[in-house]
């Protein structure tokens, strides 16, 4: 019984993963770069939404047909837009997205610098008597 079960499991897993570990690796790698549009904070690799499964199959099919990673990414972007990229590209429309953390950092540095420079260390003021005492002690 156990043998039969193992046999079926092996058959199933071979079917599920295909017989080309290299291709599997490339599909999996690319799937982590693409967003699942159904569960938007997951990549295609993480999601089990039906659309994510379809799109993973689409990636596999295209790669099997000899398409490069770039080709597949272009295919996805043409249909779903830049949003499908888990790492947004750097271009005019995403400038605010990429630049704002650095602008905020610069602003923080500027505020901090102003504050530090504005801080004044008070020089101890000695009265006439204290001066006289100090002079005596130093003699």
């Amino acid at each position: 019984m156990a043998r039969i079960l193992v046999f079926f499991l092996v058959i199933l897993s071979v079917k599920a993963f295909g017989q080309d570990p290299d291709l599997d690796k490339r599909v999996a790698a690319l799937a982590t770069e693409l967003r699942c549009l159904v569960c938007q904070n997951q990549t295609l690799a993480d999601s089990n939404a039906p659309l994510a499964v379809d799109l993973r199959n689409q990636i596999r099919e295209q790669m099997k047909a000899g398409k490069s990673e770039r080709d597949v990414i272009d295919f996805m972007v043409a249909r779903y837009g830049d949003f499908v990229l888990y790492r947004p590209p750097f271009k005019a429309s995403t400038l605010a997205l990429w630049a704002s953390p650095f602008l905020i950092l610069l602003g923080g540095v500027w505020l901090l610098a102003r504050r530090i420079r504005g801080r004044r260390i008070e020089e101890p003021q000695l009265s006439q008597e204290e001066r006289a005492r100090a002079a005596k002690l130093l003699e």
Binding site: L37, V38, Q40, P50, L51, D54, L55, Q58, V77, A78, R79, Y80, G81, D82, F83
Partner: protein, 173 residues
């Protein structure tokens, strides 16, 4: 002078969040608007031996509505699609559905579609960048996608967006 920056920064933050949090993250702008509708040739839902291509609609303003019997929002927008179909031909793209579910669904709820094509594997859905059923496309006489709506149609969208756009495109000829 220094005192003014803190409340000013706070107000700016509130404004940013007030706008940002009201945007709908599901509304992903489609790169397909302004592009030719992706070509397809699919069997009809009602007649598996007959096929239909988007080319047959060239010269007409038409609407492509992606629907499925397993999709509750599709049922919710159904009366609006029905209303819309009185003004403009609506072609249904039956998406990842089974004939034995889809046909009774149309019988129960009425069939506003000029015809429905049957995309069981969802391949044409991928071509059209479908990710949330229902989705609705307005396509002009030259076969260019002019508008895409994601999610169920509302009476407002039909009255304020779809019908005016259809009228405008029809008038342009």
């Amino acid at each position: 002078m220094k005192k003014i920056w803190l409340p000013l920064g706070f107000i700016a933050l509130v404004l940013l969040l007030a706008v940002g949090l009201q945007l709908n993250p599901r509304e992903v702008p489609s790169p397909l608007v302004g592009k030719p509708a992706p070509p397809f040739e699919l069997p009809l839902l009602h007649a598996p031996d007959k096929r239909f291509s988007q080319k047959e609609m060239l010269g007409k303003v038409w609407v492509l509505n992606v629907w499925a019997s397993w999709c509750p929002p599709c049922l919710a927008e159904h009366p609006i699609v029905t209303e819309l179909s009185k003004k403009v031909p609506v072609v249904g793209l039956n998406y990842k559905d089974a004939r034995e579910d889809a046909l009774p669904w149309l019988k129960r709820n009425g069939d506003p579609y000029q015809l429905s094509v049957y995309d069981a594997a969802g391949r044409i859905g991928i071509e059209y960048g479908v990710y949330g059923v229902p989705e609705t496309y307005v396509i002009d006489q030259r076969g260019v996608i002019r508008y895409k709506h994601i999610g169920p149609l509302t009476p407002q969208v039909r009255e304020k967006k779809l019908e005016p756009l259809v009228r405008e495109l029809q008038a342009r000829g």
